[in-house]
């Protein structure tokens, strides 16, 4: 009995080729740093410029990666205590990153290039029992 990951609704990107549609999810307590909101439907410009400014200028094309997405999340979604989510240019120890329910370690971690309708899940590890 498995609920597969939510895919970015095909309809939301219907005909919209100018944006990258992602679903970003936080669970295991990570959502507490994001206004307790677990699921975020996100629309990004297709490409990103070097200094992480969103940019649709095709001369300066750069694919979004998890590395650049983390900076965007920090600046746009994160509500409090960034040190409990980010450490250096990666996530802090104890957070797993899944792309379409697959461990990012199998996909190139920070360098994974995001695709249209990707689901990116951040799981904070639980220790209680």
């Amino acid at each position: 009995m498995t609920t597969s990951s939510l895919k970015a609704d095909e309809n939301c990107s219907d005909g919209d080729d100018n944006n990258l549609h992602l679903i970003i999810e936080f669970t295991g307590g990570a959502e507490l740093l994001f206004d307790k909101k677990k699921i975020h439907h996100v629309k990004l410009p297709l490409f990103i410029s070097d200094n992480n400014k969103t940019d649709n200028n095709t001369n300066n094309k750069k694919q979004w990666t998890i590395r650049t997405l983390l900076v965007w999340i920090r600046n746009n979604l994160l509500k409090e205590r960034p040190e409990l989510f980010i450490q250096g240019d990666s996530v802090r120890p104890g957070i797993l990153v899944l792309i379409n329910d697959v461990d990012w370690e199998l996909l190139g971690d920070l360098n994974y290039e995001l695709k249209q309708n990707d689901n990116v899940l951040f799981v904070s590890t639980l220790h209680g029992g």
Binding site: T27, E80, R81, P93, I95, D101, T125, L126, G128
Partner: protein, 419 residues
């Protein structure tokens, strides 16, 4: 009439066959699996919310030998989720209570009890006697210890955790799958980990995960089905979703389970995790100096001075929903999350300065549940009011109440509800 002897392809007796009939008629399981279970052993580390259902199911299913380890005794706050214990066994060692109830359920199972804290000194000797280890503990430090010990002795490890409405489950060190350290080579910062006594948990969430641990233990011991190795189950009881994610392979760089491990014996886990708390009990922090703090009874004396009463306000920094449990009159609620949240602090400054101006305040007193958050709030208030104080040449005294409402209950008002 000739006697024809029955042929049995197993070592079970007639009582076993009858008792376990409903599971051994499962084609995937069969009498062979039952026979294997009878020859097998498992050690449950932690007889709490996860360990309770897990121990009961493993006892009920006809496992040969069950080990139960826990150093704690039963507190009333355990009973909503730790359902192997009951009111009659309150304050008794958890392992004794658990063993008592397991024996009532199935007297044919051999049950070993270890009423001790798991340490680097005793773990190898205890683990060595069991086929499978089940991690039902509640803290990150013990989880590293259990993982390393399971790897060093090459035992599969059934690991689960539960908090709030969520649970996670996976099987480590099974048929060349990853271990806990493959996933988490570096321990999380202490502030990022929470326990049931701080953030809460709903009983059936633990029950769900503990029951699934028993199921995976049975599968590992009898070699049936697809074991949850290389995968992790994420359970969200509030949304009611079960989600299985695909995990990384065993890591060639892993400190303990790789071909050339750095760790070849158990470590100092306090040092590695940079913390000493290894159970559900909260730590008492020391952030403020003693002259920045008031004992609960001191505050009462302080209140008898009319001038001070008029010129102070009490700020309760607990989460707003907890105030409904019990609160003091004439307090202001400013939840700690709002105070230290990364957002705009100008709202907090405005609330404080409005209060100061409206009531001509000279003192602010902060209270919370246990006396930790109140210290953090006092520090933050000093910082936020620094400019205001300088600009208006004011010195607002800010103190907290040592031990919070726990101390209030103990020293001032026994009827104040404690949770």
């Amino acid at each position: 009439m000739a006697f024809i002897k029955c042929i049995r392809d197993h070592s079970l007796n007639d009582e076993d066959v009858s008792r376990y009939s409903r599971q051994l008629i499962l084609s995937e399981f069969g009498v062979e699996s039952q026979d294997r279970l009878k020859q097998s052993s498992a050690l449950i580390v932690g007889c709490g919310g996860l360990g309770s259902p897990c121990a009961l199911y493993l006892t009920a299913c006809g496992l040969g030998r069950l080990g139960l380890l826990d150093h704690d005794s039963i507190d009333i706050t355990n009973l909503h989720r730790q359902i192997i214990h009951n009111e009659q066994t309150l304050n008794q060692p958890k392992v004794e209570s658990a063993a008592l109830n397991c024996r009532k359920l199935n007297s044919t199972i051999k049950i070993d009890v270890y009423n001790e804290l798991l340490t680097s000194e005793n773990a190898m000797k205890i683990f060595n006697d069991y086929d499978v280890i089940v991690d039902c503990t509640d803290n990150v430090l013990t989880r590293y210890l259990i993982n390393d010990c399971s790897i060093l002795l090459n035992k599969p490890l059934i690991s689960a955790s539960a908090i709030r409405f969520e649970g996670q489950l996976t099987v480590f060190n099974y048929k060349n799958g990853p271990c806990f350290r493959c996933l988490y080579p570096v321990p999380p910062p202490e502030l990022a980990t929470s326990n049931c006594s701080d953030v809460g948990v709903l009983g059936p969430v633990c029950g769900t995960l503990g029951s699934l641990q028993a199921l995976e233990t049975i599968k590992v011991l009898t070699n049936i089905g697809d074991v949850l190795s290389n995968r992790m189950l994420l359970f969200d009881g509030l949304a009611m979703t079960f989600r299985v994610i695909k995990l990384r392979q065993k890591q060639s760089t892993c400190a303990v389970c790789s071909e050339n491990p750095i760790i070849q014996s158990l470590q100092n886990y306090d040092l590695f995790c940079q913390r000493t708390v290894s159970n559900d009990n909260p730590v008492e922090q020391k952030i403020l100096n003693s002259d920045e703090r008031l004992r609960a009874d001191e505050y009462i004396k302080w209140l008898s001075d009319d001038e001070k009463v008029k010129q102070h306000c009490l700020i309760d920094v607990r989460p707003t929903h907890e105030l409904a449990i019990g609160r003091l009159p004439n307090t202001i609620n400013l939840p700690i999350d709002t105070i230290i949240g990364g957002g705009d602090s100008s709202m907090i400054v405005k609330t404080l300065t409005d209060l100061i101006e409206k009531h001509q305040l000279k003192n602010i007193v902060v209270i919370c549940r246990r006396g930790n958050d109140s210290q953090i709030a006092v520090r933050k208030f000093y910082e936020l009011l620094k400019d205001y104080n300088e600009k208006n040449s004011l010195t607002i005294g800010i103190k907290d109440i040592i031990g919070g409402f726990y101390a209030w209950h103990k020293y001032v008002d026994h009827t104040f509800p404690i949770y």
